[in-house]
Structures are given as C-alpha cells and as structure tokens.
Symmetry: D2
Subunit: 337 residues, 4 copies
C-alpha cells in the first residue's frame, strides 16, 4: 500500500499519516519526489484500515500494490491446478466439455440429452434443478427431483454431473446426487453461499458475476479456498455492457489474463454470454483457440419448446457438428477432447 | 409480445409462428407493413415460452410490449405507497433519513452514534451486523451480537432500526431485534433470499444491484411482493460504470423513472455510491431536490478508525451540518424532515 | 510514476529498470517492502515513455501518481474560474441557464423560442446548426444559415448565443455569428477540433464524451487551454451505461468531483442525458442542488413536431414553470438566476 | 415502427396518434390486445419524426422494427463483400494481416519493420502518422513526413499501406501516399470525417468506437457508403467496460453478429483492445477461430523504446512466432494467410 500526498503537503500532514501507520505496528518508507511525497507502508497491512488514510489532510491517493487474494494467486502457486470431477481432470492438456439442458424438465428428457451429449464428446452433464430467474413468474426448476434425474443419467451414461446451487438446502441435496456444484453469476458475491460451497467437499464451478472484475472474481474464489476447498474451476460467461446485440459481452481476454493471475482452470460458457445458438459455435472455437480449459454449452432435445433458455440451446445435430469442428482445434494445442 | 418477421419472410414461416402460438391457446394478430410483417400475440403470454420464437425461420425479432412485473407496477396501482417502519412512514410528504455506521463495532459505539444521528434528525438507525465483504480477509461483522446492540439503541433512543441480512439465519435473527431488513446490492438477485425476505413479515429495503437495470430491480421487488409482503422501499446506491473517480455512479435519474414506473417509495444512498464523505453532502441535496423519499447515510464517531467504509462515513459534525442544510430543501417540496 | 516489482524480483531486474530511468536523465527512489520492491521515478516524466516499463522483467505494475493535465488542475490553480459569455459570467455566484432548440429550424421559430426562453430567465440561447446524427438519413441542420438566425435572435433579445461546431469550417462560421462554441460529446476526443477550438478565441463549452472518464475529459480541456484559450465551461450530459430506461446515465456525482479536481465551471444538460422531457425538471433541480454552475435545456415551440430531439424538449410552459421552481433552489446557495 | 399504447388508453389518444401519422401521408394498422393496443406505422417512416410520438397522451413505447442502416445491411445484400487494398482482397477465403508500428518514428525504423512483417506474412503495413493522444503532452506523430516513409516502405516491400486520418488535411495527404485510410475509434462518430472519407476514393478501415453499439457502428459505415464509397472494412478493437485488467474489452462476439447483420468484412485488433503484448497471441488466435477476416497487430523493432504503445507491441520474434501459429488455424477454415 502506498500513500501519495498532495503537492505542497504540509510536514505535519506527512507526520500524521506516519504516526497512524506506526501506532498500528507497521513502518513507513518515505520518498520525496519533485512534485509529490510518497509514503510506502511496510509490514502486514491487515492490521490497519489503510483505506481510511484517504481522509487524512493532504493525502491525495491511497493505492494498493499487491492483490488481496493469495491462495488463488499464481504469484504464490506458479503451477496450474487440475480439478478432478468424476473421472475427468479439468486443466492442462485437456478440453472438458460440459453440456446439457438449461433446466432439467423430465427424466426422459434428461436421459435423452445425456446420451446425445456423451456420444458427441461431452465429459460432464449439466442440468439446472434450481433456476434463478429474473421474474418470479418464470419456471423455477424441479429442485431435488431434478437432481435425482441427474443421478440416474450419470448411472446410465457414466458422465460426471454438475448442477447450480442457490442455497444451503440446494448444496445439501447436491452433495447426495451430483459430482460438482455451480455458483451462478448472480450469486458470485453471495458470500454465505461461497462459504457453504467451500465446506461442501465438492468441486465448485464459479461463474463470473455480470458486473464483476477479474479481481473480485478471484476474491470470490478465495472465499471458497479459505474454507479448505481448493477444487475450483472458473467460468467466464459474459459481462454486462452497453451492447445489446448479444445478451452479455463474452470477455475472452479474461482467459489469458486469468492464466497469468491464477493457477485455477477456467472454462467458457458461450451459450449464456451470447444468448443465441447462432453465435455459440464461433465463440466456442474462439474459446478453445485462446486456451480455455473447457466449455459449458446448453443442449436441448427440442430447443423451440425448452422451458428455459431455448434461444441459446443447441439441438443434438448442431452440438454434434460443433464438437466435430472443435477436435482439430484441440489438436493444434496438443489437447484431447 | 410482438414478433417481427424478416423482409420477404415466406408465408410458410409466418404460418409456423402462427401455429405455435395458436396451439398454445393464444391468438395472433397480423400486420403486413411495406417492409415487414408483424405478428402480435393476444392472450396470456405466461402460457408459452415466447422467447423461443426467435428460433423460428424468418423471425427477425421478438419484442415484449409490457413489463413482466405487475404488483409493483404503477400502471396498475396509480397511488404512491407509504411504508411504515416503527413510527415512521416512508413515502409521500416526508423525507426519511436513515443513518448510522457501516458496521456495528461495539455497544458503546452504536449508542453514541444513535444519539448523535437522532439529535441531527435521523428517523432510522442503520448498522451492519452481517457484512458482505469483497475479500474474505476483511472484517465480517458482529452478527447476532450486533443486532442486540441495535435493539438496545432503539430502546434508548426510540429510533427505528434497519440491518442488512445475507442469509435465512440472519433474517430469523433480524426479526427478533430490528424493525426493517435490508437486501444489499450483491444479493439483489439472490432470489432465495428475496423470497425469505418476503416471508419475514418485516418491511424490506431493497438496494439496487451494481449492474441491475431498473426493470430487473422491479422484478426483484416482485419476488418479495409475490410472497405477500408489499412493504418495500427501493434504494438507489450507484451502478457500476467505467468511471473510477467515484466508487460507483449514482444514477439519480432513476428517481423520476421509478416515480413513473412504480408506486413503491425510493431512497438514495450517497455514501456507498460515491465512496467518499466529500461528495456525500452534494449528492444528498441533489437526491432531495429530485424528490427521493429518503436518504441512507453512513455516520461514524471516528471515521479514521472505522473498521469498514471509513472514507465514506460522515463525522457527527458533518452529518449534523448536512441535515441542517437539507431542511430548507425539504421545505421547498413541502416535506418535513 | 512508481514501478511495483513482482515478489522475489531478481536484483538484475531491478537494476535494469533503474538503468532505463537513469539513462533518460531521471533518478530513482527504491523502497524495499516485506513483499515487494517499489521504484519511484523522480524528475520530469515527459522525458521517457514510462508505460514501456511494464514490459521489463519482473515488473508487476506501473502506476501514475499525478494527473497528466496541469493547466485545468485545481491543485495548481486553487481559485474557481468564471467564464464570460456576452454579458454573462458563468461560474461562482450565479446559475446560468442556456436554453433553446436542439436544431435551428427557421428564423421565425428561433426568434419565437429566443423570446420565450429570455422571458423565463435564460441568459444564453442555444441552437444547433450543424447536427451530428447517428444515421446519415436524419436531418443534419441548416449550417451557416442557422448561425445567421442565431445572430438575429441575439440582436433582438440581447441573449448570448452558443452553437455546436463539428469542423473547422463550422468554427470559422461560428466566430462570425455567435458568442460561444460547443464541442459535442461525440467530438470530445476529436483532438484536431479541440486545437482549432483553442485557437478560435471564443469561449468553449466542452461536453463530456459518452464513454469518457473525468480524467480524459480534463485532458481534452487541456488540449484547448494548451492553445492559449482558458475560457472553457464543462458540460456533464450523461454517460453510456447498461441502463436503458434513460437515454444515458446522468453522472451528477461528477459535479462535486470536478469542483475538487478543476477550477473550470461545470454545467449540466438534463435534456440529452435523460432523453425525456418528463425527467428534465427533476434532474435540473438536482443539478442546481449539487452546485452545478448552470444548465443547458432544450426548449421547443412545438416539441411534437420538432425535427430533432422532440421527446426531450420542454414546451414554453414547462420551461417557464421549471425556471420558477429553480429560483428558490438558487437562493438556497446564495445565487442569482 | 410500432407504437404501444398504455393499458386503458383513451380512444381519443389512439385517434390523436393515428391522425398525426395519417396527416404525414402514412397509414396505420391497429391491433387491440387483451392488455394494450398496438399501432403499426405503414409507409416511408423518413417522412415523419416518429420519435416524437412518445410525447402523445397514453403512449407507452415507440419501438423501431427495422434497422436504420440499409446499404451496409446484409438483409438487402446477402453476399459478403471483399474489399481490395493494393493487391490484397480482404474478405471471404483469406486472412489478411495488417501489421506495423503504432507510430511511424523514422524512415529507417519503418523500413526495418516493413521488411520484418512482410517476411512473417503480413499483407498490409500499418503506421500512424497522425496520432490522437489522450494528453496534449504526448507524441503526436510525424504527419505528412510519416506518410512519405510509408510510401517508401511500400515501394521497397510491395506491402499495401494503411494510415489513420484525423482531419481533411490528413485525408488529402493520405490519398497521395497510402492505399487505405483508417478512421480511429475516437472519430467513429465524427460524421464530417466520415463523409470526407467517403469522398476520398480510398478503401476505409472503420474502427469501432469505444462505446459504440454495433448498430451505431453500421450507421457510421452507412455515412461512408452513402457518399458512394462501399469499400469499407470494419475493425473490432475493444469496447469500454468496467473491467480494467485489459485496456478495453475485446468484443469477439461482435464477429458472428456482424457476419449476420452486414456484408462488409471485419477484422480484429488484439493490440489496442488488450493493451498488452502478452495477451495478443491468444486473442489473435481466437479472432481467427471465430472467422474474422483479418488482424491488425502492432509490431515494433524495439518495443521498450517505442514512442507510443510500446507495452502492446510485439517484437519481430514474437510476431513471427504468432503468424507461424496462425497458419494451421487458417487452414482449419480453408483460408490462406
């Protein structure tokens, strides 16, 4: 943390800042420039509320110089992590495809989709049982019944399974039926849920919040790891911007940025980010080309009659065509699909 | 809901859309323009997933023409609502000031602040006992102990009390100790929490999410009202934009927009939105001038040593000066403070 | 400028950065913290491209600690500036209202509007003769003919006049006919136009770009002042965000921020920012309450038939009612209208 | 254009809207739904200011149902266009790489870079002679002298050349020396410059504005085509969002969206969008994978000493490695590089 003083800051102002820091058991390092004086804080910053220093007289700026997340920070854990889900390892050397319906609608439907996505190359079956919907009047999911269908689909196909959780009850149910839980974009800063996910013992797919910076996202991951659960996969799913031609704006640059900042694997959801099946194949290929560790894609047996997110779901034929097209892209980076 | 067909849409495409709608028990209204054909859907749209129509051949756009929120919609409830909290009515004819520390730190501190904000004209004491913080390593609040201090402060000063809740446990505790609960910005689309807030029986302050549109905000309110609890006060607290000179961008235009769209009262939080005590007085005055029904302001006995949000907290002297300055603004709109 | 090294940066990396700086005639100041080493640059930073240092080995961040704008910076010019336009001084102690049609449509129309806004209390007549429109098929303005009508309106009413310019030709024409020129939001970073405005000799109203930060805005002002023209008035007119209920999001917090960062006066345009006449009065009052030095408001004799921006224009009756309502707000801050 | 009336709109209100439309020579089509009445406008909408209808009593919304751009719209020109620059055709079947320094610094430097990028596979040499810089105190370019060096580089290497223009003077100079002109992001809605570019006779690279929607971008292209110049290549270069880990947020989803909306070719600039050489290769591959028609990449002989944009420039070695890596990606889509 450094404190930048205003030009012509009074010596008494500099002394007041220094005193505040030293009283809290830290030490300072002064640097007098031509225009301004800079005060560096040396020691464990968690001991004082450095933010408060902005209120001191003649203080111009308070600037952090290190990240607040530590356990997810690649600076301190240089090797990339692989996260195992069922018999699949998400991370270096592979491309993991998670596919399935936005919402589980029935047992028959789910089994039909599970077989189709497995045949096409998916390793993980996704299916929503608890649906967070913008309007209270939209379909809200089958809840625990949906999870049971997920379990059956796993038994029949051998696919690993993932389901979004929205509450402690949902986590407790998920632990019984599925292999991985997902924290959705709207709950990325639901810190209670993050802690409960950390305690669940299951690997966690952490989606980026619609208006979350990469730093906030890694701090959210930190909440989970701090509970003793380092099995986290990040999922870029688009951020909110002024552009309305797509549902959200897929931030693919986040992939190389995350590869630099964290050791956690990161996958991409081209379905929710674009909001249209038409744009999913192009964005899926782009995600693989920039080295995402996986994809999460919505697939439905009959998109035109889906209860949720039909417009962005791929039919079986389209999904199968896409995975065929992705194989040579995987090969270019020496990865298996 | 209207469906805009592409130029030169085939008659078969128009027929397919028409059939999909009619099979679901609704009827259509066709309008052939010079350039495009428009299909209006007549009937109860909740019966079919109209979004899916975007996938039909030759369909160009699917456009809603009515809002999905109904109970909070002023079109159907023209009179503004007043929400009673303790002995205070938030709504037409008054300006309600909620003030207090970001986080409750101790009993002594809270009582000291409660007396000061009451003397200066506040009607509601705010104080955080459950703090959602970006980093897991920041102070997280005193939890139920903090709520007990709130109850004592109420007993001593007569102020109504409000506290943020982040989980069902927090709501269950809050019901015992405080008069109103707050759903924070990060939980605005935590739909489980919204439903639980709706069932709590307490009035709810619903803060706008950092990246939520006004429509999404009113849909979140709808979740609470749909549980039978219409006692909702909205709170504009800034949205996330590209500008970094303030913590968030206070969207004051939302006040007249909300006055048009909903009958619910709306207050403004100039502390969290700006992130700096220096900008709070100007924004508080602006909020009153554009007819916000109240203000939520962070006040601390010693901002420089606050455990949370010190930089945006007003000292007692600054808060007292501000309420004095606000009185004539209230008078201009015939309101009491 | 400070350079933050990565944890465990090699001494050779620190030496390389130091050498690069010293070779360019500047000196360094090293600060070894517990976690990272920080290198401060002392001297005239314009001598080297400090941005490039991010490419050096083991460099983590390059952070500016001072603003790049100097002439518009309040740190070096503590007294607020007043800008004279015709017989009006925009700045401390007054509230200046600029009003008129979005586009000048005819001589008769302009004179009618000029008389009406003068009667209601406006000091400056605005009127667009060169219209930058999103679509090439929209009305583009009367150009020089429109400026001549502005001159006539001034002769008849005594109002000062302002007109947007979009090119050097427009500036050359404007110099002949009006008292002040305006750089619109879309041209805020048209640096050629800024320099030409700086050379024009006329006072300049500089609107904020739709996606410009306050720092970029002040750097744009710096372009004009650097040409020897310090007569600049800033105009907040809304920024682009994800919210679509209003045309743009009026950033009123920018007013107190600017009062701190610059000595230049700042006014607010509630018409373009909200895009609807319904929201103009509330936002105009809010702007006055937070100490904006003036307002720019679109007024039209017949909004329903306006060739441009009808929906956000006030009728004479509405404008007159608004200025009446604004007078007591001005009095509260000891200002005349 | 359709007009949505409020629930319970009075017949007189509907009649007033109808009359306004019919008086202007258009006809209406009424659709009475269960909740609201919708009025469709049939005929040439350019004859009246439909936006104004929002002001009529009981009108709830005015919604366009067709795009305002026509000449660039794929609906009316289904075949993709190829734009020829020198001996290169940008469009279907090829991947065109434009590379070179952000700013032309000297003849020697430019020739050295031209040879290097040609050897690595670039077809077009980029080089800035007129630099729009945020601060007036930054390097502003060599102007016409820089263009002459571009001409020499072309003579020596056979590369086609492109240079940004910022004014009519710059266009007049560019016509003499280079093969293609570029309108930069900050000038995307400088409509005067767009018209002048349209009259120049040169192909135009039109960069997306930092806060421009895809629709606004295509309307900007429309300004150029409307002057009789259809030789336009679009360039996605990142939009402004709240994320600060990259300079801007590269919106790659815009590529498939544009392929659907327009027949014009589109390329991607991974240098300006990310702001860091570290992220350029990943984003370049992603752009090719999602079928961008080309790339614009900044390359410098000595990035650490570049006068402009050093941090995002690739060295010769890095650029050469990147083009090698891109070749197999091109092959996957059957394209040559």
């Amino acid at each position: 943390m450094i404190i930048v003083m205003k030009p012509h800051a009074k010596p008494a102002s500099i002394a007041a800042v220094t005193r505040y820091i030293e009283v809290n058991g830290l030490s300072v390092h002064l640097s007098h420039g031509e225009e301004v004086t800079i005060i560096g804080i040396v020691g464990d910053k968690s001991k004082l509320s450095t933010d408060n220093l902005i209120m001191f007289e003649d203080v111009d700026r308070v600037m952090p110089v290190t990240e607040s997340y530590k356990l997810s920070n690649r600076k301190f854990h240089p090797e990339p992590t692989a996260v195992t889900v069922g018999s699949t390892a998400i991370g270096p050397g592979t491309l993991t495809i998670m596919a399935g319906p936005c919402a589980v609608e029935s047992e028959t439907q789910l089994l039909m989709i599970a077989r189709a996505v497995k045949d096409a190359g998916a390793a993980v079956l996704r299916g929503g049982a608890y649906k967070p919907r913008t309007s209270p009047y939209s379909f809200q999911g089958l809840e625990e019944e949906g999870l049971r269908y997920m379990q059956k689909a796993k038994a029949e196909t051998g696919l690993a399974t993932i389901c979004e959780v929205v509450s402690r009850e949902a986590i407790e149910a998920a632990v019984k039926y599925v292999d991985m839980i997902q924290i959705g974009a709207r709950n990325m800063q639901n810190f209670i849920l993050l802690k409960e996910a950390g305690q669940s013992g299951l690997p966690v797919l952490l989606k980026r919040g619609l208006c979350s910076t990469i730093d906030e996202w890694l701090n959210a991951a930190e909440y989970i790891i701090a509970e003793g659960n380092p099995r986290i996969v990040l999922c870029e799913r688009g951020i909110r911007t002024f552009e309305t031609a797509t549902r959200n704006t897929l931030d693919l640059s986040a992939i190389p940025v995350l590869k630099e900042k964290t050791h956690l694997p990161v996958i991409v959801d081209p379905s929710h980010s674009t909001g249209s099946y038409k744009y999913v194949p192009a964005m899926a290929k782009a995600a693989v080309a920039c080295d995402a560790d996986g994809l999460m894609i919505e697939v439905h047996n009959d998109p035109a009659h889906a209860l949720s997110d039909g417009p962005q779901s791929l039919s079986f034929a389209k999904f199968s065509k896409l995975t065929e097209e992705l194989r040579p892209f995987c090969k270019l980076s020496g990865r298996s699909l």
